[in-house]
């Protein structure tokens, strides 16, 4: 099949939300793209701007398909492939309307993976488009991951939960796909915080704070963190503060003093 046929087929399947078929089609398309040297933007980009727009839209479909089929690794790959198209000098090809949507999905993915360093690196890259972070906050799509990150850094997990549980607020459906992953990652965060902030906590409160519904889920958590649960109260087995040890070992001091003396002698 030629590249053109494959592409029309892909678009029609994509519009019908038939992601399985799309995923199957994408591999031969990518091979065709490589054969024709279109997968990466060529240096003389003035010549074939039309081709590049097409390649870009194919890759964008690929990214959306992989995210809808929960293939996050594939999704990251597509973002990497798309990036050269997004950073082309202005005016070479028209800006993609999907750019901010895909990049904000990618940012959300980074949040679920807890990779805040990379998250901020990505935000810095927007400076190449002349955008600082507070300008990004005005964007329909990008404001979402940025808000989430703020809440996570603050520790305001309540707000994250509220935003996630009211599904219809997002501008596109793909954002909902991150719900479970993101919740799981913030639960881990919360659990770590609780461990250091409390000595004990009633089970009911723990469930509420971790946003878990059933006691079974709660017990799983308790077990995985090595906490103990007695009569409906959870005890966090904290390590004692290490600073409190008293000076008991005078030998170390003497040893140090001897070393100093030796050094002094060699200097004089």
């Amino acid at each position: 099949m030629s590249l053109e046929q494959l592409t029309t087929e892909l678009t029609s399947h994509f519009n019908r939300d038939d992601y399985e078929t799309c995923a199957k089609l994408l591999t031969p398309i990518r091979i065709e793209l490589i054969k024709n040297g279109l997968l990466v933007p060529s240096p003389d980009y003035r010549l074939n701007s039309n081709d590049m727009v097409i390649t870009r839209s194919i890759l964008e479909i690929g990214a959306l398909v992989s995210i809808n089929t929960h293939n996050m690794k594939e999704f990251s790959n597509y973002i990497t492939l798309l990036r050269p198209f997004y950073i082309l000098p202005q005016g070479t090809i028209p800006e993609s309307s999907n750019r901010n949507k895909l990049l904000s999905l990618y940012l959300l993915l980074l949040l679920t993976q807890g990779d805040l360093a990379l998250f901020h690196i990505e935000l810095e890259k927007f400076q190449n488009f002349g955008k600082s972070v507070d300008e990004l906050e005005g964007d329909e799509f990008l404001s979402i991951p940025i808000k989430f990150e703020k809440w996570i850094i603050d520790g305001d997990f309540n707000k994250v939960y509220e935003a996630l549980s009211s599904k219809h607020k997002f501008p596109c459906k793909e954002f909902n796909l991150f719900e479970t992953d993101l919740l799981n990652s913030i639960r881990l965060n919360i659990a770590e915080n609780l461990e250091s902030a409390y000595t004990s906590l009633p089970l009911e409160n723990l469930k509420m704070l971790l946003f878990v519904e059933t006691s079974k889920e709660a017990t799983e958590f308790i077990d995985s963190f090595g906490w103990t649960s007695v009569n409906g109260v959870v005890y966090f087995n904290k390590k004692q503060n290490e600073l409190e040890e008293e000076i008991t070992d005078e030998k170390q001091i003497i040893k140090n003093a001897l070393v100093y003396a030796k050094e002094m002698e060699s200097i004089i």
């Binding site: 810095e124 305001d156 000076i247 100093y260």
Partner: protein, 493 residues
């Protein structure tokens, strides 16, 4: 353009560090300044040759020190006559060097002074590259960036044709100007390949000066194009030479601090930025760099929840440039979100120009952190509800999560009692009852001792002097012979 201004300023700062200049030519006597400059310049080739013969970089360093005061007085005429005195007319480099200075290579300069004889042999590579550097500096100072940019291509070819260790110091500087012109002509992507190649060659040749220089230039390139990930990869995969000169080390640490600050690794960033401030020369000429470093330092301190010392802002060298940062610090210290936003409005453009705007925006979140810290210091026990009111939070649950996170992050040392709904600060420990101070004391003494050892090691002995003395002192040699004899005899038994 404002960003443009900044870049120029920034570059001046960097440059100032490069030169580490101490003396600014105050008011040169107008009459014979060109003659003076020419005379000083003409001394340089001899010094460099001496350096090359003895494999001792001291003379080259001396040249660089003396170059700074005369730098402003270099004119195309002085350079042309210098080139004429160094290169024989048949030399291939001579033509394009003169062309770069807009002089006609074919026309013989009407040499008024007769002792200016035409040299017969080609100059040694060190002198050749040094002349390249002088032309670069001249073009750079005269702001002929387009010309410098095309001249650089020839420089790179010239550099590749030589392979001598004594070139290292000059080469490192040549690369600096090559990069600088690329930056000014907005050609940051294509230069990377050349820098990478230079870095590879320098690494293979153990040329630590050029290696340090190219690494820091590459980092600057990546940071200017906001390619933090690339920059981070470079830092991860290369080893910065320990014995690079201070100005390059200072810049390297500054870039490192920037990368780490963006990656939210504030504690390492703080260490690096302090190192950068200490390594940079404390003279007036490095003021720009010091300003940039101090700005970053202030922000990093604020981001870690510390409030910088007020004296930082009082430094007469830095005071005016730090005004926006003082305002930001005030807003953070008061925990006042409204004041913070006003400050952003007022100084936003300035902060953007410093490339620090995104970092400042992160501080908005820190306002809450600082608030909690202040509360925990002033109250031994406070209900979550009160925290909620004081910090203008939405709900008690939010307050609970936020306090828990603050405890986990080590912002405060406290615990929460959920049943009664309060936060209790932990008693401050008496550190002197622990081993902490002892360990710290030990660390510092060790540092002083290693500093002493290093200085002894770094002391300079004139080369070959020991060996000469050996020969002069026959008695010692006799004794040595005796000793060897004795040892051999002892072996026999």
């Amino acid at each position: 353009m404002t960003t443009e201004d900044n870049k120029v300023k920034d570059a001046k700062a960097a440059e100032a560090v490069v030169d580490g200049a101490t003396a600014k030519a105050d008011k040169p006597e107008l009459e014979n300044e060109t003659v003076d400059a020419l005379e000083t310049l003409k001394e340089f080739p001899a010094l460099i040759e001496r350096s090359a013969q003895n494999f001792d970089p001291r003379y080259i360093l001396k040249v660089f020190r003396e170059l700074t005061p005369v730098r402003k007085e270099i004119t195309s005429d002085t350079l042309v006559s210098l080139i004429e005195s160094v290169y024989p007319p048949t030399n291939s480099h001579r033509a394009y060097l003169l062309e770069a200075l807009s002089a006609d290579p074919s026309a013989e300069m009407d040499t008024e002074d007769d002792d200016n004889q035409v040299p017969k042999r080609n100059p040694i590579p060190e002198v050749d590259i040094f002349i390249h550097l002088l032309v670069q500096i001249y073009l750079h100072d005269k702001k002929q960036f387009k010309k410098l940019h095309s001249f650089n291509k020839l420089c790179i070819t010239a550099l590749r044709s030589y392979d001598r260790r004594t070139l290292d110091y000059i080469q490192a500087k040549v690369w600096y100007y090559i990069f600088r012109s690329s930056e000014l002509t907005h050609d940051l992507i294509t230069i990377r390949a050349d820098l990478m190649r230079a870095l590879r060659t320098a690494t293979l040749r153990h040329d630590s000066e050029t290696r340090a220089s190219t690494i820091s230039l590459l980092l600057r390139d990546y940071l200017l194009t906001n390619d933090i990930n690339q920059a981070y990869n470079l830092v991860e995969k290369t080893e910065f030479p320990e014995n690079a000169s201070n100005s390059v080390v200072a810049r390297y640490y500054y870039y490192l601090a920037r990368i780490q600050a963006i990656q939210l690794d504030y504690s390492s960033a703080s260490e690096c930025v302090i190192a950068a401030a200490r390594k940079c020369s404390q003279t007036k000429s490095a003021r720009g760099f010091l300003q940039t470093v101090t700005k970053l330092h202030i922000l990093i301190q604020l981001l870690t929840g510390e409030i910088p010392d007020l004296t930082t802002f009082r430094d007469p060298l830095l005071e005016t440039s730090l005004l926006p940062y003082l305002a930001v610090t005030r807003a953070v210290r008061l925990g006042d979100l409204k004041l913070f936003n006003e400050t952003l409005q007022k100084y936003g453009a300035h902060l953007k120009r410093d490339d620090n705007y995104n970092l400042v925006l992160r501080l908005r979140q820190n306002v809450i952190k600082t608030g909690i810290r202040i509360i925990s210091l002033s109250y031994k026990r406070i209900s979550l509800k009160d925290i909620c009111i004081k910090l203008h939070l939405d709900s008690e649950i939010s307050a609970e999560y936020i306090v828990a996170k603050a405890i986990k992050d080590g912002v405060i040392d406290a615990s929460i009692n959920h049943k009664a709904g309060y936060m209790q600060s932990r008693e401050l420990l008496d550190v002197y009852s622990t081993r902490g101070p002892q360990a710290e004391f030990d660390r510092r003494i060790k540092f002083c001792m290693s500093l002493h050892d290093d200085s002894v090691k770094a002391m300079r002995y004139p080369m070959n002097m020991n060996r000469v003395e050996d020969k002069v002192d026959p008695e010692a040699r006799e004794r040595e012979q005796e000793l060897i004899q004795y040892l051999q005899d002892a072996d026999g038994f």
